[in-house]
């Protein structure tokens, strides 16, 4: 009995009765929905972002594109025309979608590769290319060459091995199938020649590359060999490799198309879908923004409604001489815990949704975090701050007049 006659509980009874239970409930639910909209918009945006740009959703090779000029009738027979000029390379390097650019240098000398062993006899003319190490997806300690070194590390394209094992070896009775591990222990007789000189090296396959469809040797060897055995003219760069965030970036695709440059088309094919997805993201973002504005409106109305509906009682309390400071603190404590609970419930609902979405998308090989993004948490804090400020200014305004 005595407790219910405390000033605080008397005020509580008064204000609660003034607002009305049903109206209070409706307004609380309304605000919950509004906050849900706001945070959902933020989280959805972050999820889209993660789906489109997250490292989990792209395979490793997708970051690298090898670009060359298309060999057309006009360019045929004029090797200079199919090489990239300095101006073209500089322009490409400055594009926003290019993070890093490396030049593939082709050998400017003759190469023969043959086998030391009779078990797998072969002989072939060949060529080499080199590229800065940072673009190579093979990790090997033996990937280095110094002048005077007899051993020559070589990286071959993975599709080469596949081609050999599934095509060549199958069609010839006397050719065994070879794993990469087996290939790595077979020494190769590599002869380089040109410019009146010749040298023999022992080639070792140190790995296979999914990224670069070329036979690669270390840059240091390429420089040495080009200088020693190369023909008079400077080596031409007919291919470049770029590192890009997003190989399906429509801007990249358009840039290449405008110049009739070619790249691994399967990696850029996604681009058309990306244009559509970009539109959808834009529309979702637009709706999110509308939801956000709507949400803000609803809950500022909520606060005004709850306070306005007990306006007469507040007026009478002031007339009777209640301390405005005390009343302000009391009113803030009336609304803020409810708002806090609403936020916690909304966060719980969103977390559950996010977790379910994570599970569902994972079955489709799309990966989003099972947790809410830090941006959503930050938005929650901002919303709380906004609610607090709106509450405070509304309470102050109603207490003033």
């Amino acid at each position: 009995m005595a407790k219910t006659l405390e000033l605080r509980s008397l005020l509580q009874k008064l204000i609660r009765a003034g607002i009305g239970k049903f109206r209070f409930l409706m307004a609380t639910v309304g605000m919950g929905v509004a906050v849900l909209f706001i945070l959902l918009a933020v989280q959805t945006f972050m999820n889209f972002n993660e789906l489109l740009h997250g490292s989990n959703n792209e395979n490793e090779t997708a970051d690298f594109l090898v670009i060359n000029k298309q060999i057309t009738g006009a360019r045929q027979g004029k090797k200079e025309l199919s090489a990239f000029s300095k101006a073209e390379i500089d322009s490409l390097q400055q594009q926003a979608f290019v993070q890093k650019l490396g030049l593939l240098t082709a050998s400017n000398f003759g190469v023969n590769v043959s086998s030391y062993s009779d078990a797998i006899p072969f002989y072939s003319d060949a060529y080499f290319e080199s590229v800065p190490d940072e673009f190579i997806d093979v990790q090997s300690e033996s990937w280095k060459w110094e002048p005077g070194q007899k051993d020559l590390p070589v990286i071959i394209p993975t599709f080469f091995i596949d081609l050999y094992n599934t095509g060549m070896a199958m069609s010839q009775q006397n050719l065994p199938q070879l794993s990469l591990e087996a290939l790595m222990v077979i020494p190769l007789k590599v002869k380089v020649h040109g410019n009146g000189g010749e040298a023999e090296m022992v080639g070792h396959i140190v790995g296979s590359s999914d990224r670069l469809n070329s036979i690669l040797i270390p840059e240091s060897f390429m420089q040495w060999a080009n200088k020693t055995y190369g023909y008079a003219r400077a080596p031409l760069n007919s291919r470049v490799v770029i590192k890009t965030n997003d190989p399906s970036d429509p801007k990249l695709v358009k840039y290449l198309e405008d110049r009739s440059w070619k790249t691994n088309t399967d990696k850029t094919r996604f681009s058309r879908i990306r244009v559509i997805v970009n539109w959808i993201v834009g529309i979702v973002g637009g709706i999110g923004l509308v939801m956000l504005l709507f949400g803000m409106l609803v809950f500022s109305l909520f606060i005004q409604l709850t306070i306005a509906s007990s306006r007469n009682d507040i007026e009478l309390l002031k007339t009777l001489g209640i301390s405005p400071d005390l009343l302000r603190q009391f009113l803030m404590r009336q609304f803020m815990p409810v708002n806090g609970i609403v936020l916690v419930v909304v966060l719980a609902v969103l977390s559950a949704l996010q977790w379910i979405l994570h599970k569902v998308l994972a079955t489709q090989q799309m990966f989003i975090s099972p947790w809410l993004s830090p941006a959503t948490i930050a938005a929650t804090v901002l919303v709380l701050l906004f609610i607090w400020l709106t509450n405070r200014s509304t309470v102050k305004r109603y207490l003033k007049n």
Partner: protein, 236 residues
Amino acid sequence: MLLVFTVAMRFYFNIAIKFFMTITLSHIVPLPIAEKVLSRHSDVWNQEVNLQPGEWIKVKAPSGTGKTTLVHVLWQIRKDYKGQVLYASKPAQDILPEAMAQIRQEKLSVVFQDLRLFGQLTALENIELKRRMSPTPYYPAEKVQAMAEHLGVAHVLHQQAATCSYGEQQRIAIIRALMQPFEWLIMDEPFSHLDIANTAKAAALIAEECKKRNAGLLITDLDEDTHFPYTRYLNL
């Protein structure tokens, strides 16, 4: 800055409490009835009136001459008037809300004509709300029960105020006004719904409480009465 000022104001009023408060009405003319009050003689409107501490004043007023307006102006819930109300020589308009709240808790008490109870609270809750408004209540809770019994409203203490009769509400409002310290008790037709016996009891209680506090009393009413030994009569 505001805080320093508020603290300073509190300090000022704490000192002022030692000197009982004179209320000054300086040439007050309520704007909505300005023409009416200026057309006839009044002891209050458009006059310089000092209500001295401890005076028991009867303001007699025919209907429509602004009796309730005067109480509302004195209480500072109406500000649509010309002239000035001064509490202890300080313009009431300039008093900050926090300081005004303190005046209403310690120096002035009121019984409005329309009583102004919270209908959704019980009679007891209405009284307790006022009693506990000050951090250190003037009277203990038992005093409420004693006064209610004395005025014959103990049986409605736990009843919703809105369901009490006017007579009961009037006595509840009187008890509420007596639950706090005051230097002035302002009442607007406080016995309008009471019979002679209950009026006498209520008046006796009010007189006793005012004497106890050496407080001034200002009552507005339509007719003359002998409920209190008035020291001054004013015609509105």
